[in-house]
Amino acid sequence: MTAENIKRVQVGNKGKNIRSDCFFEIELTNSGGIQLQSNSKVEVMYGKSNKKLISDILQYFDIENASILFEDSGALPFVIAARLEAAIKLLIDSDKEYLLPMLEQNQKPTTREQHRFSRLYLPGNTPSLMMNAGIHNPNALILDLEDAVAPEKKHEARFLVRNALRSLNFYGAERMVRINQGERGLVDLEFVVPHSVNLVLVPKVELPEHIRAVNEKIKSLQFALKQKNPIWLMPIIESAKGVVHAYQIAICSENISSIAIGLEDYSADLGVRRTAEGTESFFARTTLVNAAVAAGIQAIDSVFSDIADLEGLKQNVQISKSLGFNGMGCIHPRQIRIIHENFAPDQLEIEKAKKISLAFKAAKEKGLGVVTLGTKMIDAPVVKRAEKVIQLAIDMGKIPSNWADLLAEEKA
């Protein structure tokens, strides 16, 4: 799209079922100043402040003459700013960006190891689904620029995702973005890397080279901005070829925290139907888990797409956990709790882990080199696993952190 031959553009969404979004139709004119026609659902409450925001942005991009139609269904300022800037950038060439202040809590880095049981996908061009996503307490929110955004909306979605990374309250969830494949994905990075994204999901990875290209781009962007915050990568394996290269992909870079599988595309690649039992993807899933464990990173399972079937989801999570996965994607907030509850250690696991942990402590206090539980000898890796289970149970609120003291008190 060249700026010279486009005079009139439309950006955003309007209509009866659209909420928390807005729509701009802008035509650059040669004279007459700014002619703004505003139809806002919240005109009485926010008409004045919206007009000021629009005028500030126009001034920032030196637009003096334009005819503008603004249809507003209750969009927040960061949405309005994203829509308007997306429209302006279709009309003029400018390197400038209109950035709203970054929320303080959005600058927090995350760690490689932190829990990623649930990651809620949010369509990158749908503001109404973003507003309250964080209050459902997923481990992460994914602003999706790939499959959830239609090709003709990719341009405007980038501005919305960029502004959301700065202005949307994630309520402590890790801040993830799924970029597009290939060249388009590299451009996506320009909109997310400078804005403190925690983790980038790279779709349809088949070879380590795909990850290298993404990392080079991230590095060059971070170098230019003198940013040093970690940006983790989660390659998504979605093809037979990707599964074959899973381990090479998993170890190809230090900033890979996890590796995920996408079963819709994988099943299509095999030319089979995706079933609830998942027999057709058993090899792929176990291969992925094995590669992840070998590489020392997290293995993440595919989403469960029937949002009404919470019982089916539960079974799915239990299978997923038993195969060795550390988390799974979700596409509806209602799935989050089921995922957490079923990835969390169950009562049996917790009790066993407690016994092992106590036996280990007792042996250490007595200066014994060998830990035994009943008549069984316990190896170091088993103790380590038990400690992991206990930590997880504490993190997920299943047991208090002072469980051992409480137990001792009870006995006394």
């Binding site: 009485v44 507003m131 309250n132």
Partner: protein, 531 residues
């Protein structure tokens, strides 16, 4: 009888006990300004209708008149009269519109329409408000009627009352009904009527009870005439002057509305779950407890969570005060509750249960809400779940206007329900960027002293007056916040909203449950179309 158009619509402005400026004369009639909760207690005798004599009515009990028009003429329909209707048919009502079609055809002017509520279908009446057939509405004004009133287009000043307040106004003579028209899904020629049978079955007819007892003339209109006796007698034929058989009294699909589904919105479900958990932690949910929850999606979901809690503990609620529908009915049939005390029935499952189950009881504004009763049910309920369009930092709430100042809803039983032992308003912290918590509500409908808890998806605020609840929840995992904190949180996301601008002109008065005026609605400054 007709109010002169030259007379001032209202007069004698005073500041009431809530600090709102209200008129003491409205539409030429004397009213009393709000004096505080529980302060106003009128003396004297209740209003009574004219004394009838049975000899004036057909001994064979056949009061059938060939048409509604003739019945209205025989009832003495003339300029300036007060005509009442009920809203059990909700958006499927046909009869109210027909009454005013007839009045218009007869050239009658200056009528006061006194419905127990209005619905979008009544947009049909706007031309009659414009041409003076109807002088004013005293009742809820929803949607288009609310806008019409807010824009100052109604000839008289509208008066909004709660369901209980409507009964109070009928009983103390504040509103004297000339003709009550009661559309009944099932009736006999004598006038006995009910809502449990017939094509337009709507469950019960409690909102028409006071009208039948106190109106000078009572017309029962039905499309399902059965031989005497029509049982149960929800409306007693002994109050009825004329009966009319017509082809159709209502649109069944719109009578049982589609709103009685639990919410699918994850955000609303979260609010519902937090509210239910709050009630559990506060010790409100217990064996033998009682609650009232409306027919909105969030309220229904709270009922589902309550049912789960009862099931898990092996407990049973004593009664549910309801607008009933399939969900409380399921609880009744599962043995999770002893009784449903039903005020209006929202779906066919509710109608079936009311018809078949002796533990599903029809109530009326008299039993549930009435101010001039020797007590009422509302104050005996352990917890009530209500909505609001706005709440202010003093817990005062608004249910009739939106934050843009436009009158859009009626009061319903909302004010009356505030007298329960615990009133909780589960509401989203903002709707489409419009924060729900404000400095001061646009229109005061319920004083903050009666509102205990505001539950939002981002936190729960307990009224500082409820130190008992604050104490019980002090170690809770629930996000308990102050109302000021919640307000600040919404404004950090949405921005601080501007206030709507009004003219000085009063277009409607809001009554408190005792008949005093708690607030008014003023004409909005800008026309809606200009937005």
């Amino acid at each position: 009888m007709r109010t002169s158009t030259k007379m001032k619509k209202y007069d004698k402005l005073v500041t009431n006990a809530a600090g709102r400026i209200v008129p003491e004369i409205i539409n030429g009639e004397q009213h009393i300004a709000f004096q505080g909760v529980g302060k106003y207690k009128p003396s004297g005798r209740k209003h009574a209708p004219a004394i009838p004599s049975c000899v004036d009515y057909p001994a064979d009990g056949n009061k059938l008149i060939p048409s509604l028009k003739e019945a209205l003429i025989k009832s003495g329909l003339r300029d300036g009269m007060t005509i009442s209707t009920h809203h059990h048919f909700r958006d499927g009502d046909i009869i109210a519109n027909q009454i005013f079609d007839i009045a218009h055809e007869l050239g009658i002017k200056g009528l006061r329409w006194f419905p127990s509520a209005s619905f979008p279908c009544h947009v049909h009446l706007i031309p009659y408000l414009e041409d003076g057939t109807i002088q004013r509405i005293e009742g809820s004004m929803n949607g288009a009627l609310g806008r019409f009133c807010s824009e100052g287009k109604m000839e008289g000043v509208g008066i909004l009352r709660s369901h209980g307040g409507r009964y109070q106004a009928i009983q103390d003579g504040e509103v004297q009904i000339d003709i009550a028209v009661i559309a009944a899904p099932s009736a006999d020629a004598f006038g006995n009527a009910n809502g449990v049978n017939g094509a337009a079955a709507c469950g019960l007819l409690g909102f028409a009870l006071g009208d039948s007892q106190y109106a000078d003339k009572v017309i029962v209109v039905t499309d399902n005439l059965v031989p005497f006796p029509c049982v149960p007698f929800q409306i007693h034929g002994n109050y009825v002057d004329f009966t009319v058989l017509v082809d159709k009294i209502g649109d069944p699909e719109k009578i049982v509305s589609g709103t009685t589904q639990i919410t699918k919105s994850p955000d609303r479900l979260l609010i519902a779950e937090m509210t239910a958990q709050f009630c559990e932690e506060a010790g409100i949910v217990q064996d033998g407890f009682s609650y009232q929850a409306g027919a909105g999606g969030t309220a229904l979901s709270i009922g589902i969570y309550f049912a789960e809690m009862l099931r898990k503990k092996g407990w049973k609620a004593r009664f549910i005060r309801a607008g009933s529908n399939q969900y409380p009915v399921k609880m009744l049939e599962e043995g999770l509750v002893d009784y449903i005390l039903d005020g209006q029935t929202f779906d066919l499952e509710g109608v079936r249960s009311l018809r078949e189950n002796s533990a599903h009881l029809a109530t009326s504004p008299f039993t549930s809400y009435n101010y001039h009763s020797k007590g009422n049910f509302a104050s005996m309920v352990d917890v009530v779940i209500l909505g609001a369009t706005e709440v202010d930092v003093n817990f005062n709430a608004n249910v009739v206007t939106h934050s843009d100042g436009v009158l859009l809803h009626g009061i319903g039983g909302w004010q009356n329900c505030l007298f329960s032992k615990c009133t909780i308003l589960p509401i989203p912290l903002f709707r489409d960027r419009i924060p729900v918590i404000v400095d001061s509500v646009t229109t005061l409908c319920g004083p903050g002293e009666l509102i205990d808890v505001i539950a939002t998806e981002r936190g729960i605020a307990i009224n500082p007056r409820r130190t008992d609840l604050i104490e019980k929840l002090k170690n809770s995992n629930l996000p308990i916040k102050t109302i000021e904190e919640l307000k600040a949180e919404a404004e950090a996301i949405c921005g601080v909203p501007d206030k709507p601008e009004f003219t000085d002109e009063i277009v409607a008065a809001i009554k408190w449950v005792d008949g005093t005026i708690i607030d008014v609605v003023r004409k909005i400054k800008r026309s809606i179309e200009q937005q």
